[in-house]
Subunit: 227 residues, 2 copies
């Protein structure tokens, strides 16, 4: 009997990671969703991740990490305001080493669950200026994973799958739509309220709204202001 293929899917509860989960379910026999509670303002994102994992019928692991004590980002340091204007360069919403910490935990989970892949929804097109979303960064992590793990040492390297890397937001939404993703379950807003309603103003909301418009698909996002 063939050993089932397994993947660990990073699931934030946003539009991109929800699309990744649907993509991974078509590609791997068994998926496990992995989320992080890291003191983010928008805990409604975690609730969205729970709903998405439940809807997909996959196990969901939430790892609590104390990123707040590291400070340095508007997403975790509540004394820094989230900007509502288009920002230049690396934005203040950047969380230090976030993807590196997330991928490191995913690597540990992949190792203990004998998974062949980590699936992460980074994107190099609708790029917000985060250095750890670039393809060369992902390649460097894949190289690290080959050298870091027992499986890698024994000749079974882990794949870091980035199905959204070169897709525009509109193409991501079209991909998810073809995979029957229910985007009304997802939350992208940096400052969503407890009900998961979006502000409609932050960088993330702007990219998302434009994506639905460009994809010529109805936007199921729940906004807290009429926009």
């Amino acid at each position: 009997m063939k050993t089932p293929s397994r993947a660990v899917v990073l699931l934030s509860g946003g539009l991109d990671s929800a699309t990744c989960l649907a993509w991974a379910l078509h590609r791997y026999d068994q998926c496990e969703a992995l989320s992080f509670a890291y003191g983010q303002r928008h805990t409604s994102e975690l609730d969205a991740a729970k709903r998405l994992a439940e809807a997909a019928g996959v196990p969901h692991r939430i790892i609590s990490i104390d990123m707040q004590s590291l400070g340095g980002s508007a997403l975790t340091d509540h004394s820094i305001a989230v900007p509502e204007e288009q920002s230049q360069g690396i934005p203040v919403t950047y969380v230090p080493a976030r993807n590196t910490i997330f991928l490191s935990y995913a690597l540990a989970v992949a190792e203990v669950t004998n998974s062949q892949a980590i699936v992460i929804g980074v994107n190099a097109v609708d790029y917000s200026g985060y250095p750890d979303c670039r393809p060369e960064y992902i390649e460097a992590f894949a190289q690290l994973a080959r050298l870091a793990t027992k499986a890698g040492v024994e000749g079974q390297p882990l794949s870091i799958d980035t199905p959204l890397l070169w897709l525009s937001k509109a193409e991501i939404i079209q991909l998810g739509n073809s995979l029957n993703v229910d985007y009304s379950l997802t939350v992208s807003c940096y400052q969503a309220n407890a009900e998961g309603e979006a502000c409609g103003k932050c960088d993330s909301c702007r990219l998302r709204a434009q994506g639905f418009a460009d994809a010529a698909l109805p936007d199921p996002t729940r906004y807290r202001h009429a926009s």
Copy 2:
């Protein structure tokens, strides 16, 4: 005025990291010690780290990480026995992705404190079979750090310093001795008791005792059995 040079030193409380801290204090203007509470059996190591940081007069940050929920290692899964015989290949004391997770947090700390270096006491000579202690692994992490961070993107790559990489245990002890490290403050044993007394039997104890013997220096380790 010249900006002071800064380093983040990974401090486990063992012999190697205590030597690294002394080395870093001679090389950088300001050091910060970083330890992890990860459900290890030997919490006496963390107490040792606190004593070492205090003795060195450096700030000490302890980050709690829930590695225990990942399982898979005799060091964190208390249902797996620590072997007392010399082991072959990758030992059961291996913690999945441990150094990758530790270095990722160190990267975040380095970024928020504007540090130029991370100092880690990995060693490729008295090698216990951990894949993430090899020089090629460290090089891969340094490459990742260059691509992952704001400072790296802006042309200020972070150095991953491994002063012990090519030293035998005896040479590490001689280096530390020349830097006045008080090794009686350190704990290396995988199953030290609450008082920090060593078993004298595990891989780590064996390497350490042989190191003092080869260095022809008195061994200040406190053993719980006469040996």
